[in-house]
């Protein structure tokens, strides 16, 4: 890094954000490429201020100056929307800058306090998170944006901002204060774009988007449980049709696995009971058992078992299982037979066989019905 400072006079830390902003504003101009190179140098210097090197420690005062300067110049937002236009190394530097800035607490602040820049974005500039998600629109920005996002998502408020982003919501009550946890989503918000990024993008983009998607849906339990309950139909319609039925092996396999995890998470009990109540969900799942790829069958099994183990099976589910009872019994007997080492799987398979064999021959009205989720007012 030293070579940067040998040749040119070093810009004061105080001026770095302003300089970066100015360079970004000229990216579109006639000398855009040259400006991009200059911007890259500015970012490299910012990175150096923030993280130091293996030999030199970063100075907290300098970092503080830089972070507050970046907030003033709205640089986080500008970087988020221009990520894909930066040169290769500068994109990685921008990613590092984001990570450090959003984690930074002044040395005097309590270690439990929210980092200042993170708090600023959450309360005043939620668009930064939304634009980071939009980084998945381009291959170039996907990885750096995704890496930053997954760190940001450790904050429940940040996750809520992304989940509840909804451009069609009336008024300008954006951001954290505008979130109503029980408001139904239109499906136009940035969260819903993830379904397309996962399935339509190139492998790298899709894989990264899925990792973030998964983080969104598994980290903050009660937030997600509420969200899925409220948007049950919209969510599972997209989930089943775009992800579980995807043509892509990776999308399919990973989303079945994640589905199993979501359903079996205790926090999502209401979501699970509603999910396994539907006959059409069981159909999708039974078709997974017959997929020609073993790992798809296997992941499908772990969703299927939930339907069978449910002591309050709906009439629709019972009917499907009963019509296929003999087929299921002989099918399960030889299902994934080569998994001889997998004792838990074998136990569960035996359990399912027993359950199916012991089902009453006529569907029985379940004694308990799931909460009506999402579909109530449809």
């Amino acid at each position: 890094m030293a070579f940067l400072f040998g040749r040119r006079p070093r810009t004061n830390t105080v001026d770095l954000p302003k300089q970066a902003k100015e360079q970004i504003s000229r990216l579109d101009g006639p000398a855009g490429a040259a400006k991009a190179e200059e911007l890259a140098k500015t970012l490299a210097q910012m990175k150096f201020v923030l993280q130091g090197t293996q030999e030199v420690e970063a100075s907290p005062e300098q970092v503080y100056t830089l972070v507050t300067g970046m907030i003033q110049e709205d640089l986080l937002y500008l970087l988020a929307i221009n990520l894909q236009r930066l040169p290769f190394e500068a994109r990685k530097d921008a990613q590092v800058i984001f990570s450090y800035v959003l984690r930074f607490r002044p040395p005097t602040a309590s270690p439990k306090s929210e980092p200042i820049a993170l708090s600023y974005v959450i309360n005043n500039r939620p668009e930064v998170f939304v634009e980071l998600c939009n980084g998945y629109d381009q291959k170039e920005s996907a990885t750096p944006a995704g890496t930053v996002l997954r760190e940001v998502l450790k904050s429940e408020q940040a996750a809520a901002i992304i989940l509840y982003d909804d451009p069609t919501a009336n008024g300008n009550s954006k951001g954290l204060t505008g979130i109503q946890l029980d408001s139904r989503q239109s499906g136009e918000g940035v969260f819903w774009k993830f379904f397309n990024w996962i399935d339509q993008g190139s492998f790298e983009v899709g894989a990264d988007a899925f990792t973030t998607f998964r983080e969104l849906l598994t980290r903050h339990k009660s937030l997600v449980a509420q969200y899925l309950s409220t948007n049950f139909d919209l969510f599972f319609d997209k989930y089943n049709n775009l992800l579980v039925k995807s043509e892509s092996y990776v999308t399919k396999r990973q989303s079945i696995k994640l589905l199993g995890e979501i359903l079996l998470d205790r926090a999502n009990y209401a979501v699970m009971t509603a999910y396994v109540d539907r006959g059409e969900h069981l159909k999708i799942c039974m078709n997974l058992l017959r997929d020609e790829r073993k790992m798809v069958q296997y992941e499908g099994f772990h969703v299927f078992k939930v339907f069978v183990a449910n002591p309050h099976k709906s009439i629709a589910v019972q009917k499907i299982l009963l019509i296929n009872r003999d087929r299921l019994l002989s099918f399960l007997k030889h299902f994934l037979e080569d998994r001889t080492e997998d004792e838990q799987f074998i136990d569960e398979r035996e359990f399912l066989i027993k359950q199916i064999r012991n089902m009453p021959l006529q569907p029985v009205e379940p004694t308990q019905k799931p909460a009506l989720l999402g579909s109530q007012s449809r």
């Binding site: 993280q51 090197t53 293996q54 290769f88 990685k92 590092v96 990570s99 607490r105 270690p111 439990k112 990885t143 760190e151 450790k154 996962i198 190139s202 492998f203 790298e204 899709g206 894989a207 990264d208 899925f210 598994t218 980290r219 995807s246 043509e247 892509s248 092996y249 990776v250 999308t251 396999r253 990973q254 696995k257 995890e261 079996l264 998470d265 205790r266 009990y269 159909k283 039974m286 020609e292 790829r293 790992m295 296997y298 992941e299 772990h302 078992k305 939930v306 183990a309 002591p311 019509i323 296929n324 997998d342 004792e343 838990q344 799987f345 359990f351 012991n358 021959l361 006529q362 029985v364």
Partner: protein, 611 residues
């Protein structure tokens, strides 16, 4: 995530070899005519979270350095993931070592280039974690590049540390093994071991069992190059890399200023190594045919006849059942009774309790467990935010986890590969038993060498140790593996101290087995039946077979080398490698060998029924 069309942009040619996750092919990019290497990873054969495989891609794709193999693209084709990378025609340093050890001048050049590569990686917050000759590739013009980022780590904070136990035992730094937290310096240690590997043809302790090496490295003093056939500078360089205290170990940047490195020549000088290897290959018989890429069609036997029936109104399917309904009605009522329903109910409730029978925890279990482990620390992170930055980037559990994702896999793979290695060493040292100098780790047998002692050692080298390795490789249960390796260690201690007693022990055991008619009938297989199908394998070498494809050219040349290396007087010993040969004085071990071979062949058949 799919881009089937992308595959047609490449004309896939012959196989180059098989790596950690799959087979690597040479290919031509149609649009540019460039030669590339494409790694095919069969995702269907991997239980691991696909995410772990993506890790490799994400590390590679964020590297842009002349010292790191260049990543070009990746895409899915069915359930295979194709990773396109630059083609490096010189092969790996491990390949090049087959034609003989390198000299110091060559090693200096390679080390300089590797240090430049490591300097880049470390500055980027990446740790390679598996530096060894096998992962260093050369281009045709002699350029040196780091490859195989299968277990590499990306840190978000350049000062944070890792605890995950990954790498290949012989090359692992003490702090990695001790899991006390390590950083970039771990790569420097491995570089030092790699330097020794290049001058000696194998890493230090190559003859020791890999599990034992894991105890040895933290305990023993750091390996050194000794003797005056090495230059002072080289010895000093190696000793600087191999400083056990990682805080005192120099960084890549500092080592670039070392005399040994500064005096290194140009990379073009490495062409000599490539040419030497080509000559060496030429001297050997050409591998009969290059393995060509063949499209594997997925002909899964489909049992179509009984598709699910979702159509409730299909009368025909319901009708016949009606007849039986009446008869079954009684049992239905029973089945509906308290016992079973509540049983099911119970089980269902337990679904979300942690210890329920249906709990979603094992085989995908492994991964789910992982995610629970992963989340627990995150709760703590909220409470102690100072720690959270360190853990923040880590998708892996902080706990020592021998099994995490692909690295677990690679550790196993590595152990197997290693067992291949150590078998080689054993075979070598075995061939030259009298006055062997290679085998430093065994105390040399003193003046009172009895025949029993030689035989005892032989039993260990040929029978006991390979069997342990084989069993170990076949055992998946962690606890069982540990118990097994403890036993293996104990046995090897016996072998070191008292080979004579070892021989007596085996002998007594064999006699007792034979004395018991029931046991002897079970332990003595019918001759011939157990060894059909794989005639080229001998029981002693079984671990080797598990690692490399049968027709792997390296393996073949390796085997040839072994046989050609056997000097004339040891002719009988050479023959004894082949099945069915009676070894004088060893008749009694033959049955044991047969049993072991039979078991191994059985295991093999289970794994690859088609072979």
């Amino acid at each position: 995530m799919s881009s089937e069309g992308a595959a047609s942009q490449y004309q896939v040619l012959e196989e180059l070899g098989s790596g950690s996750f799959g087979v690597v092919y040479k290919a031509i990019e149609r649009s540019t005519g460039d030669v590339v290497a494409i790694k095919h990873i069969d995702l269907e054969s991997s239980e691991d979270d696909i995410q772990e495989i993506q890790q490799e891609i994400s590390v590679l794709s964020t590297c842009a350095s002349p010292y790191v193999t260049q990543y070009k693209a990746s895409f899915l084709r069915g359930h295979k993931l194709w990773i396109v990378m630059e083609y490096l025609g010189g092969g790996s340093c491990l390949d090049l070592l087959k034609a003989g050890s390198f000299n110091e001048a060559h090693i200096a050049i390679i080390c300089r280039e590797l240090l430049l590569g490591l300097e880049y990686l470390h500055q980027e917050g990446k740790i390679h974690r598996d530096i060894k000759a096998a992962n260093v590739l050369l281009s045709n013009s002699g350029k040196v590049k780091l490859a195989d980022f299968g277990v590499a780590a990306q840190l978000t904070n350049i000062k944070s540390q890792r605890n995950t136990f990954v790498g290949t035992p012989f090359w692992m730094a003490p702090e990695v093994i001790q899991q006390a937290g390590y950083d970039f310096k771990a790569d420097i240690w491995s570089l030092g071991i790699t330097a020794m590997e290049m001058i000696n043809g194998e890493p230090p302790n190559a003859a020791v069992h890999p599990m034992k090496v894991l105890f040895l490295i933290p305990k023993a003093p750091a390996p050194r190059l000794e003797g005056n056939h090495y230059s002072k500078d080289f010895k000093d360089f190696v000793s600087q890399c191999l400083v056990k205290d990682c805080d005192r170990r120099p960084s890549a940047k500092e080592l670039l200023r070392h005399r040994f490195i500064r005096s290194a020549g140009k990379v073009e000088g490495l062409r000599e190594l490539i040419e030497r290897k080509q000559e060496w290959d030429g001297g050997k018989m050409k591998p009969s045919h290059p393995r060509l890429y063949e499209e594997t069609l997925n002909n899964m036997p489909k049992h179509e006849p009984d598709e699910w029936v979702f159509d409730t109104v299909k009368a025909s399917t319901i009708a016949p059942r009606k007849n039986t309904t009446k008869r079954r009605k009684l049992s239905v009522i029973h089945a509906n009774g308290q016992g079973i329903t509540s049983g099911a109910e119970e089980a269902f409730k337990q679904l979300d309790l942690k210890d329920a029978p249906l709990e979603y925890s094992s085989p995908p279990p492994v991964t789910v467990k992982k995610s629970t482990i992963r989340k627990q620390p995150s709760i703590m992170q909220l409470a102690t935010p100072t720690k959270s930055r360190q853990a923040s980037s880590q998708k892996k559990p902080l706990q020592p986890d021998m099994n995490f994702g692909n690295s677990g896999c690679s550790t196993v793979r590595i152990c197997r590969r290693v067992s291949d290695n150590s078998t080689t060493a054993q075979v070598n040292s075995d061939i030259s038993v009298p006055g062997s100098t290679r085998d430093e780790n065994r105390p040399p047998m003193g003046g009172t060498v009895t025949k029993e002692a030689i035989l005892g050692r032989r039993v260990f080298n040929r029978i006991v140790d390979p069997s342990f390795q084989e069993l170990h490789a076949q055992t998946s249960n962690q606890a069982k593996r540990e118990a097994l390796s403890r036993l293996a260690d104990a046995w090897s201690a016996l072998d070191a101290v008292d080979p004579e007693g070892e021989f007596q022990f085996i002998k007594t055991m064999m006699e007792r087995v034979q004395a018991d008619p029931k046991l002897s009938s079970h332990l003595t297989p019918v001759k011939g039946t157990s060894r059909d199908g794989t005639p080229q394998a001998s029981p002693q070498k079984s671990p080797t077979k598990l690692v490399l494809a049968q027709n792997n050219p390296h393996l073949r040349s390796h085997r040839r080398r072994q046989t050609s290396m056997a000097p004339e007087p040891e002719f009988k010993e050479k023959l004894s490698n082949l099945p069915g040969q009676a070894v004088p004085g060893m008749e009694h071990t033959k049955q044991l060998a047969d049993v072991l071979y039979g078991r191994w062949a059985g295991g093999l058949r289970n794994r690859w029924p088609a072979v």
